[in-house]
Symmetry: D2
Subunit: 143 residues, 4 copies
Amino acid sequence: MRPALMMDRDAVAAFLDEVFPQIHHGGPGPVVESVGPLSATMRLPYHERHLRPGGTLSGPAMMGLADVALYVAILAQIGPVALAVTTNLSFNFMRKPAKADLLAEARLLKLGRSLAVGEVLIRSAGQDEIVCHATGTYALPPR
Amino acid sequence: MRPALMMDRDAVAAFLDEVFPQIHHGGPGPVVESVGPLSATMRLPYHERHLRPGGTLSGPAMMGLADVALYVAILAQIGPVALAVTTNLSFNFMRKPAKADLLAEARLLKLGRSLAVGEVLIRSAGQDEIVCHATGTYALPPR
Amino acid sequence: MRPALMMDRDAVAAFLDEVFPQIHHGGPGPVVESVGPLSATMRLPYHERHLRPGGTLSGPAMMGLADVALYVAILAQIGPVALAVTTNLSFNFMRKPAKADLLAEARLLKLGRSLAVGEVLIRSAGQDEIVCHATGTYALPPR
Amino acid sequence: MRPALMMDRDAVAAFLDEVFPQIHHGGPGPVVESVGPLSATMRLPYHERHLRPGGTLSGPAMMGLADVALYVAILAQIGPVALAVTTNLSFNFMRKPAKADLLAEARLLKLGRSLAVGEVLIRSAGQDEIVCHATGTYALPPR
């Protein structure tokens, strides 16, 4: 049986803004759209600082979004543990994202005592095709 | 026999600033320190926008640095091909970087006709320990 | 619109046995269960050569299974191209597999002209939990 | 200061044969060539069960070799802990290996309390070019 969520969307969003104010540096940062059992959806609002030649968005914008989406899925499930740290991230970039918001759907494949593993699908808002697929591992503090 | 470099440090740096002005958004972006046969060294000057709780630097700062370091190593070797695109990046985060410049050493393990593969070691300036190890693949345009 | 499959289950299975007889070395190798649009399911029959201490199965058994599952998904979609080659594989091992058959579900996230990218979920037969998650990239011959 | 090795080449080789006799199933398995500080070199003797069409060697043969090379580098450093488990492996396949022995050089980039991270370079015996690059993470038991 899957345990209940420890934090809802608003609680996670408030915690994130408190511990990571820097994600909004230079423009709007990722926004928590929703959280669910072992999952989270985040939106990165379009901003020119993410733009790259050819009207596409930067790799680091997608990588940062995937990282925080996994973190939010973990937070929602286990509560406010600021010290969960990313140990591994792996990305496949498949298509150039459009000049639009990015949507990231994270789901946890494993939530163990000391490690969480998950994957993230990133799409341009309003489009079906996956632009980037990520997998990541977080080391969790004792709890 | 390994072919001569097509671009030296200054030529690559000028090209990078021309095609990717955005890497300096919000503060100083990565700087080309040196290029060599199948290799490049980049420096990311310390800036508060990379700072994270606990006095460490953000994952995306390291990820963007690794990506551009591989790109610069490719450019130096094959000349100004703005359209080389990252298809895969994989990161292991091993230690928290210090509140200091980051140095990234990239070397290409393969430079084929259509794919380049390389690895990047990232350290905090003045320190021996590797904080992040990255591997990456670029798809190269026909040339 | 997604193109029709070029090979059905039996055609792919026959092709695989013809070009890769070695996958059955020392015992039964992976079996094609089904193929579908951009997807394939493979089964690795339990055999003692895959056994490891503690009654679990070897990493290489799972890795080989994931690799061939992606290959089969590609073959079904684009036809018998023996020369598709793996360029990248990345694995997260999440749980110890049981002493049982392994089932691998592959789906292609991108099937481009020169690169195919996909992911594979591996479970022990009859169980819900994912024991291994893989992503992989194949370089495709001109066609 | 780096701690002394806990096991030398012969001790690691004997331990490996005792806990993983299966690596020699169907033909000779990987051999420990040498161990050093945070490093190990392994050889996979050429055998027809690794052969693939075109006179090259199988991906799983290289993947299994990389995995065990990291394990041996860890064992040499921390002593006989059979229960170290692989949590992540990532491979870039860069050239087709020759019909010859494979040599794998593993080095640990981090040996922490609960995680070890390393990379492996695989070459065909007698050749300079890297055929496969791997990175991997092991979860270590409390010690």
